[in-house]
């Protein structure tokens, strides 16, 4: 359980931190698209006998780069790029899962999250990738935030916008890979997006929006995991419901402040 809590803490901080930049770029659903590609990666791991987290990470990175490539180089609209990768990912996952004969409880743990299946190895991977992701965001925060504020102006000034976009997509892929044991592939996008939207109701600056979102993500992950453990519920759904509850709370706070 302690392993699960430590993993959840990293995921609760990382997912909204990455999601913040996705939401600001109006790419809120990219986490879902990458998640479905990660599903294909998990299935491939079972088929090849490789740790599913590793194959999921590779597949998620490939999916993230594909979405950015389609958007930037092929001039595909953002939602169309997402749909292409989203459906190709889930289709490949279903086919590979069938080939591997892996449609079992273990696979469902990746889809919906599972507390008890978190191992020390998982925690080490979550820790390294998660803290690495948070470090990258700390280092790139100003660049990513500035590019969001005025992308065209930044492009004129010679800022490598395409590289920053790929960096955000890669961070989203890492987030999906490290979060799938806790929240599950199907709900990780929610933990990336809901805390950010909730925080925006009460934030007074971009920085405060990011930090409040990370606080909400952490609280939702730990509270959701606790309730899931004692009530024997799926952790992913419980965590996301806490994040949705945070949105109701901040919306009420915003309304009260406006009166």
């Amino acid at each position: 359980m302690r392993l699960a809590f430590a993993s959840a803490a990293v995921v609760g901080l990382l997912a909204p931190a990455v999601g913040f930049f996705l939401v600001q770029r109006r790419m809120s659903l990219i986490g879902d698209g990458i998640g479905h590609v990660a599903f294909a990666g998990v299935a491939l791991g079972y088929l090849l006998g490789i740790a599913p987290v590793v194959t999921a990470l590779v597949a998620a990175l490939a999916g993230a780069v594909a979405i950015e490539w389609l958007r930037a180089r092929r001039h595909t609209a953002g939602d169309q790029a997402l749909a292409l990768v989203f459906y190709t990912g889930i289709a490949a996952g279903v086919v590979v899962v069938s080939a591997a004969g892996a449609l079992d409880v273990d696979l469902f743990a990746f889809l919906f999250g599972s507390i008890l299946t978190v191992t020390r190895g998982d925690l080490a991977l979550v820790g390294v990738l998660g803290l690495g992701g948070l470090g990258a965001i700390a280092l790139l925060y100003r660049a990513l935030a500035s590019a969001v504020i005025d992308e065209e102006g930044a492009r004129v000034a010679g800022v490598p916008i395409a590289a920053l976009n790929v960096a955000v997509a890669a961070l989203a892929a890492v987030t999906v890979a490290v979060s799938m044991r806790i929240v599950g592939i199907l709900l990780i996008a929610a933990l990336m997006v809901l805390p950010v939207i909730a925080a925006s109701r009460v934030a007074w600056s971009m920085r405060s929006n990011l930090l409040i979102a990370m606080g909400i993500g952490l609280a939702a992950a730990l509270a959701g995991l606790t309730v899931a453990y004692y009530a024997d519920m799926p952790p992913g759904g419980t965590i996301v419901l806490f994040a949705a509850g945070a949105f109701l709370a901040t919306s009420a706070a915003e309304a009260a402040r406006a009166r």
Binding site: F20, V23, Q24, L139, L140, R142, A143, A145, S146, A147, V148, I149, D150, E151, E152, G153, A154, R155, V156, A157, G158, V159, P160, L164, S200, A203, W204, S205, M206, R207, S208, N209
Partner: protein, 239 residues
């Protein structure tokens, strides 16, 4: 000294369509304040994009400070206010956060802003009269104040060339006058080259040394006082 902008025989069309610009010759010296006007669809924004190196001419050449515009090596010194500049995010960015975004290219991509960069941001805020409102979310400001914040963002780059595309769109006449006066003051104080693009130039006419009218080609280039009466409203139907 090489001019800030030099266009020689520039023609441009989007994706095999009809030409948007035809044989444009334009030379803007360093430190000039030039207004570019013309009707909507007349090619003003395309002309800007060619000047800034975002589009390459189909014919002719475009130079920025003597270098090919598309390969200009000092892009961080280009201050650009896009058409209908608005926050590209729903997050409640403060005025200071918006202006600090202007230091991205010159202040480096990694880590927080250094002390010198923060001082430049403070200076830009003061120059446009927004120092007192620096901590306010941009979206709580009036349209004119928001435009001033974006001008400060462009100033934060310490630009050698300041390019403003329709900066007065969506702001009232009083705010337009105030913005034009602000740009005039900044131009004189900073000795920066300013290219101001607008479909109407009433507010800025008193301040600019030179007016360029564009209708696919340059149909007038000179001081506003020399502008024939027939051109005074550049959006009218006269050819």
């Amino acid at each position: 000294m090489t001019p800030a902008i030099e266009l020689d025989g520039v023609s441009f069309a989007y994706g095999g369509g009809p030409p948007v610009l035809r044989g444009v010759d334009l030379r803007v010296e360093r430190g000039e304040f030039v207004a570019v006007a013309g009707p909507n669809g007349g090619g003003k924004t395309t002309l800007l994009r060619v000047i800034l190196g975002l589009e390459r001419p189909a014919e002719g050449r475009a130079l920025l400070f003597g270098e090919p515009a598309h390969a200009f090596s000092r892009r961080s010194t280009l201050g650009y206010l896009a058409q209908r500049a608005q926050l590209g995010t729903d997050a409640p960015a403060t005025v200071r956060e918006v202006v600090a975004a202007g230091r991205l290219a010159s202040g480096g991509l990694l880590g927080p802003l250094r002390r010198r960069d923060r001082a430049i941001v403070d200076d830009a805020l003061a120059r446009v009269g927004l120092a007192e409102l620096a901590s306010r979310p941009l979206r709580t400001l009036s349209g004119g104040q928001q435009q001033r914040a974006f001008i400060a963002k462009a100033l934060a780059a310490e630009p050698s060339l300041l390019v403003l595309d329709e900066p007065t769109t969506g702001v009232d006449a009083e705010a337009q006058e105030a913005l034009a006066a602000l740009l005039d003051r900044l131009h004189r104080e900073l000795q920066v080259t300013v290219v101001y693009v607008s479909h109407e130039f009433g507010a800025v006419e008193r301040f600019v040394e030179r007016l360029v009218l564009v209708r696919g080609e340059i149909v007038f280039d000179g001081p506003p006082s020399a502008l024939p009466e027939v051109w005074h409203d550049p959006s009218h139907a006269h050819a």
